[in-house]
Amino acid sequence: VSIGRTAVLLAGLVIASLASLAGPARAEGSFGVTSFSLSYGSTQAGAHADLTTGFKLDTNPSGEPYGQLKDAQVDLPSGFVGNPLSVPRCTASEFELFACQPAAQIGVLRIQFYVENAPPEPVSLPVYNLTPIGNHLATFAASFLFVKIAMSVDMSQDGRYRIEVSLRDLTTLLPIAGSSITIWAVPASPTHDRERSRTQTGGPQPIYGPPNESGEREVIGYEPTPAGVSATPLLTNSTDCSSSSPTGTLSVDSWQAPGLYVSMTATVPPPTGCTQLRIAPSIAVTPDTSQRDTPAGYDINMSYPLDEAPYDLATPALRNAVFTLPSGTSFSPGMTIGLVACSDGQFAANECPNASKVGSAIVTSPLLPDQLTGTINIGTPTPSARYRVFVSASADNVAFHLSGVAHLDPLTGQVTVTFDEAPQLPFDALHLQLFGGAGAAFANPLACGPATTTAQLLSYGGQTASTTSTFTVDADGHGGTCSQITPFSPGFSAGTISPVAGAASPLELSVSRGDGQQNLSALTVQLPPGLLAMLSQVPLCEEPLSCSQASRIGSITLGAGAGSEPLELSGGVYLTGPYEGAPFGLSIVIPAIAGPFDLGTITVRAQIVIDPGDLHLTIASDPLPQIIAGIPIRLRTIDLSIDRTGFIVTPTSCPPRAIDGTLTSAQGTSVPVSTPFQILGCPWLPFAPKLAAFTRARARRRGNGASLTIQVSAPAGAFADIASVAVTLPDTLRPRLATTQQACLARTLPSDPSSCPDASRVGTATVRTPALTSKLAGSVYLVYRGGDALPELDMVLQGGGVAVRLDGTLGVSKKGATSAAFRALPDVPISSFELQLPEGGHSLLGATANVCAKAGDVRYTIVAQNGDRARGAERIAVTGCPKGAATRAAARRRSSGPSAGGPPPRRAIMRARR
């Protein structure tokens, strides 16, 4: 039960007992305020100056108010503060017994009651500092007869932190026409000794002069009544000289219209002399672990000493604080796991969700008996401020709200947290404790050594101060010395889900990095020969990239952040067209949603380089982002799964191989990595190639020579791929010296036979593979590398941006048999391979006989990637022979017998041999 309520109760009794005498109050006009004043004893900022405020209600000509005052509230200007704890308090029971001590008096209330036909003389009453009633910051009270007038002191909850002095349910026994109150800034000051009441009911002890003519003795002064306690300031002027016109507000209502408030404002001169104010803050920042590259809880203790000497100027309140955390300390992505944001409304209502909490806060103010305790929460991002920090603390019905914005350097991730417009609640210590552990808000720098936090502070008085705090980052959190070179030994594993040869299987790849190691920057992975991507099956994502699901070939998950629980970010992997000179590329798209933060989309491009020799794939990523929206992602893991059905096909040869790679750190260190790769079941793959050969009837020894076309085909499906093809030509077709003389010398073609002279261009070749959409086609060059080397049939086949280098050899046995062999063919399914050696001036071959009469057989050996062999002979089909020529030739062969006419035509004879 408040004193105010007690007063009302007592007033009610008085009203009941005197009702017949006074009757109900009458109101002929409207209830209102005639005047409201507010003044300080000094405008000096930070000075401890007495406060005087008063009002008068509207009255009729006889001085009777138009309504009986029920409630009154005065909102003091922002920045004006009081410290009721500095003054002795009178307990409620002492006050009820009129036994408050002089030391508890804090001012004088002059109240003017309306008494009919009585002069409007105000009654002066001592005002005491009571032990707060309820949840109020302070309670001031005065008593008149049985009437107790209690003033509750609170702090506004509108974020302006104005002091509110309210009087509730005032007496109706004696209608109040006006009032003024003076609150002493330093109640115990001797300057108030003669105003101080010796007793609660008495008032100052008067000093009477000698009796006058009528025998009356006038009061010529008052006896000093010392407070008996040391002087301490109760009131302090605002320290904000920038406020142009501070205002106070009076709000009143009447018993006749409760809740219908009438307000009036009063302007006071702004504070002056702010330059005389001083601040001397300091900070201490301590992580809960000093281990590098580790999530760490940070204790930020700011000391802000307040000058509480009664006759000095007060320390100006802190207005802005900018904390710049050590270089290398960054937001820890792990913080965002399960994190939600606190809305502004929730923050204002002290209802931030627990999942938005990242730390705790303690505010210590000399004005409050208890520390304000609360939380640090992450605020809902706004378009202008992505990272918002809410600090809220409360105690004693005082809520302390501090809203800050973290600016993360987009290049370094260095964290700068800015708190603007701190409440003008004087506090001498602010302790922000950001949680540690896996979900810590911050992660320690990767580099060892001193880590310095800087605080730039600005007071309401305009004073600035810079203060720092340094701790040392070490290797293990226990002072361990860091090596001069940050290690980089990432983990790497890769492989197909299915180990079966020639089968479709997802390809999975994982890269990991331990805490304290150099950050991952780039990744290059070289797949073993034969581990294919069926690029033809996927519609390419075209530039500008906006990839659809049709182009998706897999997924990726990044683990970001230091500590045991990195943030996982998942996205898709899309196949693109040419990129950075490679025929294909990847677009790895990862929406970076980290808790309440939409950090945008991470897009990483990669080349898919196809080796022109064995067609193995090399995937080389662009540099991975190191920082996203100011948060260094401290990449810990990369889990890549190329899992589009049928996209990855395993080799058809089974020797032990490896998936190799190179991992590069952000510091530029590259390390080779490798993981064994071997598949099984190659021997069970069937092998069924076919070969056909053609020439034309006009094949000649001289002039345009002879053409020869060789076609090799293989069925689609799970068959072993072709490893080599060797053919031996019949005696009817032989190389022409005139052409071999024109072979391209190897020195002209380190990689590109197309630079060879035209005279060495002896044919064309075309390859079709289900792995690629486009056929591969190109010229065939006769190449000689000098010395004892056999001349070669080299070709660079191109299509769809893919270039394949196939090298064959051209051999002539001492017996005159001409052979060509293409060995070390890539482990790729080949739908068809066609080698055309045309007629012409540079024809490689010439005919030694009439091919219409006897074309001869091409003998071949085709070896599979799994070691199977297909051998046989295929009669060269001749086109363009005159009608009957073949019949006549066949007749001649039949008549001359097999020994004269050669073997009969036959289809390929294939024998598998393992």
Partner: protein
Amino acid sequence: MSATSRLGTVVALTAVMLVTLPAHALARQTIKLDARFQPDRPGSDTTIVVGFRISTPRGDLPSPLIGIDLLLPAGTFDVQNTLGSRTCDPRTLEEAGPSECPANAVMGHGSAVVGVPFGPQTLYEQTRLTLLMLPLTGGHTTVAFYAEGIAPLITQLVFPGRLLGSSGRFGSRLETTIPLVSGLPEAPDVALVNLQATIGPKGLTYYKHAHGKVIPYSPKGFIVPSRCPAGGFPFAMSFIFEDGVAEFVHTVAPCPRSRRG
């Protein structure tokens, strides 16, 4: 330059080379020459049969020949001039081979073996030789040697020879320049290992038109000198190799048995 002075120059150059070249170079290859008239009866219409084989001590390829001069015995005449009564256009010969040349341009046949360095191995190409009459060059009778092989490579090679006048102990001289060819670029050049050839009517059939008909006939060839010198008919051949070595080899065809008898 007259034929005499040209021969003198060749002999002089050969002598200089023999003097100036190192011994190991001189000893690099051995040449065995065989030449004779067939028939060898003095004054008769004859065919010159000539052949040589070049061997090396280790059995490897000799240095490629770049020129050979065949020196015939003095008194060997081709005055009847029916051998090579027509000429073959050199371009036709290059492009289409001797089959497109007039039959009456053929002056002889033969064979040759050339070694073709071909990568790790040497291919020995058997070629068939055809000697054909080309149009006069500089007033000299010009003969084309057309060599064609089909195994193991298909090769065609044409090199010209000029029939020059007599000089001293020897009569007419067939000066032949052999172009350097290689099987593969910048590989060692093809080397002639042996050659057998006939120059003369033996085995030749010419044709002429008479009374609207095509009549085959045998051409007249060289005339064997009317007197066989003591020791036989002297033949000689100079060989100039790519490596700078020159060899002068002579041989003697025995006088006809009847004369000796």
